[in-house]
Every structure is written in C-alpha cells, then in structure tokens.
C-alpha cells in the first residue's frame, strides 16, 4: 500500500477553522469570521486538488504500469488509535479513486456554499457559530470520506450527524426548528445503531482470520478475496453473513441518506438555513450512505439479498418521495422530497451493482441540487424570507440570474439531453434494466427500471411545476412582498458556478454507446473507469447498443414529457385544470400527497407517543416515586424518625435517665454473661491425632474433663487431661468430651458433680485407610 503525505491537512483545515471560529466567536469581526471559514475550506479544496492531481495521479500511473496489481490507493497512517488485545485501530486516511471524487465534491461544494453564506447569513447575529458549525461539518465529512477504516469513517459519520443537528436547529429559539434538529439527530441515531451492528458483525467475521485484524477497507476486501467463505458463510436462516452485514449497514445508510423508513427527518430539516440545506442535505451528508455502500462494494457484491434490499428500498423511496412532492407548496419542501427521491436513484444505482453510476449521479446531483437549494435561498432572500410558491410567480423579471441558473438546474434534474443529470440518470436506468444478479427474478431489473422511469417522469413534472410557479406567469405576491429583488453577488456567483458544473460536468461520464475518440474520449469515458478502480467489478450486464439507445430515448422522452405536462398545467401559473382536478377526482391523491402520506403521523402514533408515555411513566415511577420519594425523601424520613426515636432518651426528666441506666445495666448483663459451651478440636500430628479440649469461658482452670474415644458411650478411664494425643487406630468416629465445672456445677448428695456438659463431635480423619492399616498392625505410619 502506498503512502501519501499531508492528506491530513485536508480535513484538518476546516476543523481548525471551526475551532477558531467557535472558540473566539465573540471577539472576531464578521469579516474575520467568514474569511477564516472560507479560506480554510478553500485551502482544503486546493490541497485536495493538488493531492489528486499530483501524488495520486503519479501513483496511478505507476500502478497501471505495474500491471494493475492489487487494489489501488494511497493511505496515510496518522497514529494508532486503539490497541487492545486483538483490536488495533489506526487513525488512517485513504485517498483512492473513489474518495478522490468525493473529496473534491465535498470541498468544492462546501467552498461555494461558504461563499454563498457570507451573503445569505449577513444579518445573522450568531455569525461565527454558523460558520464554525459549517466548517466543523466539512471537516467531519472529510474524515468520513477519507477514512481508511470503518471506525474512522464512523467518526465522521457521527460528526456529520452532530453538525446536522446543530445546523438544522440553528435558530433554536423557534421551538419547531429545534424539534426538527432533534428529529434529525434521533432518526440518524437509529441508523447509526444499525451501522455499528454491521461494523461489529464484520469484525466478528474477520478478526480471527490471519491478517484480518482491523476494519480497514483494504484489509476487509483482501480478506474477503483470499478467504472466499468469509462473507458468503451462512449466517442466519439461509442468508449469508454478507447479507446480514449489508442490510445492517444499509439501514445505517438509510438513516443518513434519508431512505424509507428513516427519511422523515429530511423534509423537516428545511427548518435550517438554506445554505445548510444545500450543503448537508443535497451535496454531502446525505450522500454518505451511497459512498459507504460503494466503499463496501465487495461486501454487498457477496450478497444479492442485500443488493435487492438496497435496490427495492431505493426504488420505493424514489417513487414515494416523488409522489409527495407533487402537492407541496413550500419551495424548500419540494426540493427536500426531490432530494429523497434522487437519493433513491443513487441507491438503485449502487444496488444493481452499478457503483460508478451511483457515484456519478451523486456528483451531478450534488451540483444541481446544491444549486437548486442555493437558488431557492436566493429566491427566498428576494422574497424577504418567504418560501411559499403560491405567492411567487413571474420572478424572472426580478431575479434574472437566479432564474437562469435555476433553469439550468431544472433541466439537469429532469434529464434534458446533454445536461449532467441526463448522463447520470441514464446510466442508472440502463444499469437497472441490465441488472441480473444471482437469485433475482429475471424481470426484476426491468421492474425496477420501470419504476425509476415513472419516477423520472414525476421528477421532471414536479420540478418544472416548481420552476413555472416560481419564475413564470404573473407575479402573485404583490400583497405580501412588494419588491422582490435580486441577490448580491456573493450569492449569485456560486449559483453561476454550480450552473456551469450542472450543465457540463456530465461529460466525464458519457455512456459507451456514444463513441468519442481521442483525448475527448478519454475524458468522456473517464469517470466510470476511474471509479471502477476502487469498487468491485460486477459481471457485465447484457445490454446491446441498440437497447441502450432505446433506453436513452425513453429516458429523454420521459423528461421532456414531464416538462411539457408541467408547462401545460403550470406554464402561466397554476391553471384551473389543476384546481378542478384536485378538488374533484384527484382529491384523495392530492390530499395524500400534500399530507406526505401521513407517515409522520403514523410514526408519531406508533413510536413517538408510546415512547413518550413510557418515558413519562418511567419518570413518574422511577424518578418521582422510587428515587425522589422512596430514596431521597424516604432516607430523610428514616433519619428523622430515628432521631425522633432517639430523642426520647433525653427529655429533661431525670427519671428517664435512670430508666436508661437501668435498662443499660440489664442489657450488659444480658449480653455479657453467656458462657461458651465446651468444645474440642483436633488435628493430626505425627504420631496420631491431638485432641484439645476447650472447656468454655467462665470456667476455672480446674475444670475436669473426661474423654470417650472408643465410642462406647462411657468416659474412658485415665483420659483426664485437656490435651490428649491418640493413635489413629484408637479413635472412633464420634468422640465425646465430658466437662465438669467444679465451681458452678451442681453437686449431688455424695458431693460428686451432678451435671457434666457433654459435647459429641464426629471426627473425620484424613486417612481412613491409615486407620485401617493401624488397626491391622501395619501401615505407613
């Protein structure tokens, strides 16, 4: 594995910027704050660019020259994080083809959005905190993307979850915004839990294999390749380990990337500032799930069940989210559902084995969705903060630049030919059509293709509905906002840059059917090859060229159809046709879409309310009753009661004191005047067994003792001392000691002691054979 230096600079710069901004928030001027923030991210971008173009490219060349042996990647080992027994986790970063794409996307978009924010958040009082969080987010995302093993990736995973919470709930004074932040965090957490389980499962599977003692991606992959049974072993039911791990990890991805059923946080996340939505919920955080699956392509490839799950969930999500977007009237909400839907596309892409298509769509989506959000922010800025599209319309005359960029983005998302979205979406669709994995029904890929095509139609439709309602037609908002205005250059320049990218970035992933020669061809077919170096190769699907063209045509047709429908219905503002439809035959559909299929309400009643009831119950019972009443108040009560009882002793009346005295005296007599009964002990000494009599306390030295050793029930004559040694053979199993108390014992008429105290004990000697031998006269002793 080759190494690279200074990769750590890339995540460190934004983190340092975050640290400075957050620590010194109050003391820095606004210019300083945004300078630090933008400069750190921009510097990170340029560093990443340099590293990719320089060392990475060189290493790639070397690798290719060496015949492409092994997996390609450059790692940088920073320090050993945990070393405990079997477990050795390093803090290590990895730059290979996949993470290079991601790192450039992340830093690039982040820089643009930082610049945008300087304009958008200009009036924000907590300016430094905002930029601090934004930097922190970028740093965490970079750790996620650059992590060389799963735990480091998880650090970034959690970090972006945290920053998402901080940024969504940035205006936390508003209760519902704070709730949205919490909702995001909690739902993310559910996914994180599954992620952890998946990670542990992978550890469990690989750590006993020689050389498999870390959760390094490269190591995991090579272990899977060298020991072929590791991921394919049957784990639970009839499913493989890879299926279980894959599904668990996918649930984690579903939480992070807003798939069914854990997508509910993303629409609510629109409560945060718009640049945050752009960065986190369009370009970077939500793509972490897709990235993770691409990273663990070898694992998913080992289980078609897992891939089926990914694909199905992705497709369903895409469809359902698109459905929900039809009836939304808030600008950002439409975009939010659109994001969910497009993420479904990406998961379909990676789920069908088409890793590079998924990542390609990730890239293009980053550009146009971030642009859409920034454009929406620009519109809202011009409309004094309102995002209600019903009062917009005809904004093209007030905000020409925004409108132009928005137009480009909408073309891209609809899949208009030659835009970036066109190429990436088409890749996914073609891949779905051609997908044929083991265990999948033959028609399954085509079914998915059909669902995605319908979704693409829907996408085009609702996006262009949005465009027409916002920018075309008459302006409907004269009552609310008199003069909508264009945004300052800090906001429009990033829009333009993103529009350029959205328009032309697709040209690095042209499908093979479009043959381009020469250098342009290298560039044109660059991305799939490049990404393909980091992921597991899947068996080629059978897709003839003609079929490819057909699919392309269908996809294009869908896009254009969607645009046309939208133009028809919304071209000049919402047409009466729409109103008639939604009031009449389409009423239930409209209601379902507008209410987001009531899924939030469903979760509320199934999960949230019972949990709240449980929490309340626990609070009442455990906290209020058990801890407060029983333990705290109870112990106070116990102390008070004891003291009340003890206070009885001293009440000032002298007779009470004498009572205490007499009672104490009697107590002393009670407790100190018991006498021990006599007893005896024995131990083995050379020569036999030594018996030692203990007459009991209170007796004088003149206590008379007698022993009965032979078990006949009569005291043996001649044995009257307190310490006697007997030979082993002479001792019966039960020995009796007779004690006469000369002082306290009673006497009978002849002056002989009347009562002896008798103690009988069973005597267990270690060596009964020896006693037998002694009895027979021989023996070891």
């Amino acid at each position: 594995m080759d190494t690279i230096k200074f990769l750590w600079v890339v995540p460190l710069l934004p983190l340092a910027g975050a640290f400075i901004n957050l620590m010194l928030a109050k003391r820095l001027a606004r210019q300083t704050v945004h300078f630090i923030a933008v400069a750190s991210v921009a510097a990170s971008f340029f560093t990443a660019l340099y590293l990719c173009v320089g060392p990475l490219r060189e290493a790639y060349g070397v690798w290719k020259a060496n015949g492409e042996q092994g997996a390609f990647g450059l790692t940088e080992h920073l320090w050993t994080w945990i070393q405990a027994g079997d477990l050795k986790l390093d803090m290590a970063l990895r730059l290979d083809t996949l993470s290079s794409v991601m790192v450039l996307i992340v830093t690039g978009c982040s820089t643009l959005i930082h610049i945008y924010s300087t304009g958008y958040m200009a009036d924000e009082p907590r300016y430094a905190a905002y930029f601090g969080y934004l930097n922190l987010f970028t740093g965490a995302m970079l750790i996620l993307v650059l992590g060389a093993n799963m735990p480091v990736m998880f650090i970034g995973w959690e970090g972006v979850g945290l920053c998402s919470f901080l940024l969504i709930g940035f205006w936390f004074e508003n209760e519902s915004f704070a709730d949205a932040g919490r909702k995001a965090f909690v739902v993310n957490r559910i996914g994180d839990f599954a992620f952890l389980l998946g990670m542990f499962l992978l550890w469990w599977a690989t750590h006993e294999v020689d050389g498999g003692k870390s959760l390094d991606f490269a190591v995991l992959r090579s272990v899977g390749e060298s020991n072929s049974g590791i991921y394919e072993q049957v784990f639970w039911g009839r499913e493989r380990l890879a299926a279980a791990a894959g599904i668990l990890l996918f649930i984690g991805a579903a939480g992070k990337s807003a798939q069914l059923p854990l997508y509910v946080w993303l629409p609510d996340a629109m409560a945060g500032p718009t640049p945050v939505s752009a960065l986190i919920h369009a370009a970077t955080m939500v793509t972490a799930g897709v990235y993770m699956i691409a990273r663990l392509s070898f694992l998913f490839a080992a289980s078609t069940t897992a891939m089926a799950v990914v694909t199905t969930v992705g497709a369903l999500t895409a469809l359902v989210a698109a459905f929900m977007a039809f009836a939304q009237t808030d600008l950002k909400k439409v975009l939010a559902y659109s994001t969910v839907s497009q993420l479904g596309f990406m998961f379909v892409g990676v789920g069908t084995g088409n890793w590079s298509a998924g990542v390609f769509h990730l890239m293009t989506h980053a550009f146009f969705k971030a642009g859409l959000f920034l454009g929406a922010g620009s519109v809202m800025h011009g409309m004094n903060g309102s995002g209600d599209i019903r009062i917009m319309g005809g904004l093209k005359k007030y905000m020409p630049i925004t409108r132009l960029c928005f137009l480009v983005y909408c073309l891209a998302i609809a899949g208009f030919p030659l835009t970036s979205g066109f190429f990436s979406k088409d890749e996914i669709l073609a891949g779905a059509w051609a997908a044929h994995l083991d265990g999948w029904p033959a028609f399954y890929g085509k079914l998915i293709w059909g669902v995605m095509t319908v979704t693409a139609l829907g996408t085009a439709f609702y996006m262009w509905r949005l465009y027409f309602m916002v920018f075309e037609g008459p302006y409907r908002g004269h009552d609310q906002v008199e003069h909508p205005h264009e945004s300052p250059p800090a906001m429009t320049v990033p829009l333009v840059i993103l529009a350029v990218l959205a328009a032309f970035a697709g040209f690095i992933g042209i499908p093979h059917v479009i043959h381009v020669q020469g250098v342009l061809g290298d560039i044109g077919h660059f991305l799939p090859h490049w990404i393909g170096r980091s992921v597991k190769e899947m068996p080629e699907g059978h897709l003839s060229d003609s079929m490819t063209w057909v699919l392309l045509a269908i996809a294009t047709a869908m896009g254009l159809l969607g645009i046309g429908l939208a133009y028809l219905l919304y071209g000049k503002g919402p047409s009466p046709l729409v109103d008639r439809f939604t009031a009449g035959p389409g009423k239930s559909l409209y209601e379902a879409s507008k209410n987001k299929l009531w899924i939030d309400e469903l979760y509320d009643s199934v999960f949230v309310k019972p949990f709240r009831a449980l929490a309340r119950g626990t609070f009442e019972i455990v906290d209020r009753f058990m801890i407060d009443t029983v333990l705290v108040n109870g112990s106070a009560f116990a102390v008070a009661t004891c003291s009340r009882i003890l206070r009885w002793v001293q009440n000032g009346q002298i007779q009470r004191y004498l009572v205490g005295l007499v009672l104490g005296c009697a107590a002393i007599f009670l407790w100190t005047s018991r006498s021990d009964g006599p007893s005896f002990s024995y131990r083995e000494v050379p020569g036999g067994v030594e018996f030692r009599a203990n007459p009991g306390h209170g007796l004088r030295a003149g206590a008379q003792v007698q022993w009965d050793f032979d078990g006949d029930g009569q005291p043996d004559p001649g044995e009257t001392s307190a310490v006697v040694v007997k030979r082993l053979g002479d001792v019966a199993s039960r020995v009796t000691l007779y004690v006469v108390d000369p002082v306290w014992g009673r006497r009978d008429e002849r002056g002989q002691p009347k009562n002896r105290v008798t103690v009988t004990q069973a005597v267990r000697l270690s060596d009964d054979r020896a006693s037998d031998d002694a009895a027979t006269g021989g023996g070891a002793r």
């Binding site: 009470r656 009572v659 009672l663 005047s673 018991r674 008379q704 002989q752 009562n755």
Partner: protein, 271 residues
C-alpha cells in the same frame, strides 16, 4: 399500645433466653453411677472462705455434723439470729415501702427513719458495730433531720404522689430491675458451698480479733484500718465535704436582685 405490648413480650423473651444462655448448658448425659473423677483441688481464697448460707445442701449437712448445732443454746442462737434477721429485714422493707408509696412527706420520712434503724440493727448482726452507730447518727440523726427541715420550708401541700410521664419506659425499667434481682438470686443459688466442715464452722463463728488486737468491727479496729490504709480517701472525703458545704451555701444564696446594693451606697461605703 400494641407496640408497647410487643416490646414487653420481647423483653421478657430476651430475659428468658438470656437467662438460659447464662446458665452453663443443661446436662445432656447424666451419668450418676460413674466412678467419680478425681476432684481437682480448688485453691481456697486467701481469707476466710465461702459463705455457709443458702448453698448448704443436705449433703453438706450430712457430711459436716458440726454445722448442725447440737446444743440447745446453739440451737437457740441460730433461731435467734434468724428471728432477728427476718424481723429487721421486714422492718427495712416496710419502711422503704413507706417511702415508695406515702403521699404525706413526713410519713415518708418517718418510714425512712425506720429503715435506717433496722439497717443499723442489721449492721450489728454483721459485726459492724461502729458503722451501725454511725449510721444512726449520720443518716437517721442528721440527714433525715435535714429532710424534715426542707419539707417544712417548702411546705407544699400534698399532691398526686406518682409521676405520670414516661410510664412505659419506667415499666420496662421495672422489668429490668426485676431481672437483675433475679439474676443475683440465681447466682447465689448456683454457688455451692465449699470447703470441709471445719472450714464452714469456722466461718460461722464470730470474727477473730484484728491484727492489732481489737475486736473486729469495733471503733478502734475501723479507725486503725481507716487511718492506716485508707488515709488518702479519708482526706479526700474531707475536702469533698468542704466543697459540699461551700456549694450548698453558694446555691442557696438569695438572687442578686433581692439584695443589690445601690451603686451610690456601694461607692459611698467603699473606698
């Protein structure tokens, strides 16, 4: 109320249990017809020995015929001793019961005086002649007179004799007291008599003269003992009496506001 009853039962149970514990364990195997073990000599105490009182059993009587007075005079002496003891003991107890129960304070004082007289007689029976007389002089003569003075001073009318508060605690204390007396009795019952007949006879005889040749228990004998061996306690007690006198005067001085000289008089009368 039920709590108190429960406590009483508990206390009784504890007493019974503790008493059982306090005894040496009951015999489990009593062998009567065993050859008697060689009795180890118990070293008799340095001075004259154990009491020949309640512990005498029939066996001792059988073995020490000297103990039974044979002469009529001896029998009369023994009977007279018993009479005297029981009579004076009864007087003691009755007198103290007067103290316990009488409402009229003077009656109680009189009872107490009777007790002291009887006690003096009992001291005589114990050959403590000097102390008997001192008892009469000091207790009956001085202390009780002091009590009578104080009663006259206070001149309180009679009131309810028995204290009302804290009765449950006192009841428990009463039980404890009974238990303690019972324990004492048990010890006395359990202690057997020792020694040969001659020793017992010697014990019952009148005490011998002291080493200085005085009768035992006489003034001279007690004086010799007190001033030779216990001189320091004697002197200390003298100081104690001085302290008591000073203390009594200090306590019974009138309060300051009763007899405060006015400052002008003090100044005029002073330096």
């Amino acid at each position: 109320m039920t709590a108190r009853i429960a406590i009483v039962f508990l206390a009784l149970g504890l007493l019974g249990g503790a008493h059982a514990f306090a005894q040496p364990a009951a015999p489990t195997a009593v062998r009567v017809d065993q050859p008697a073990p060689v009795p180890v000599e118990v070293r008799p105490p340095a001075r004259a020995a154990t009491p020949a009182g309640k512990g005498i059993t029939k066996r001792d009587q059988a073995e020490s015929p000297k103990l039974q007075p044979t002469t009529a005079a001896g029998k009369r002496t023994k009977a007279g001793l018993a009479f005297a003891f029981w009579g004076f003991a009864a007087l003691t107890v009755f007198g103290s019961l007067f103290v316990l129960t009488r409402r009229n304070l003077i009656t109680a004082v009189m009872g107490m005086v009777g007790t002291f007289f009887a006690l003096a007689a009992l001291y005589m029976l114990l050959y403590a002649h000097f102390l008997a007389v001192i008892q009469l002089l000091v207790y009956a003569g001085a202390i009780m007179v002091l009590f009578v003075f104080v009663i006259m001073i206070l001149n309180k009318p009679e009131d309810e004799p028995f204290a009302q508060s804290g009765r449950f605690g006192k009841f428990l204390a009463g039980l404890a007291m009974v238990y303690l007396v019972f324990r004492l009795g048990a010890v006395l019952v359990d202690v057997p008599s020792h020694g040969s007949a001659a020793q017992i006879a010697a014990q019952n005889a009148a005490p011998a003269l002291t080493s200085d040749g005085f009768a035992w228990g006489s003034t001279a004998a007690v004086g010799w003992n007190l001033f030779n061996e216990y001189l320091f306690p004697f002197e200390a007690v003298s100081i104690l009496l001085l302290i008591a006198v000073v203390g009594a005067i200090a306590i019974s001085r009138p309060f300051k506001q009763d007899e405060q000289d006015t400052p002008s008089e003090a100044a005029a009368g002073g330096h």
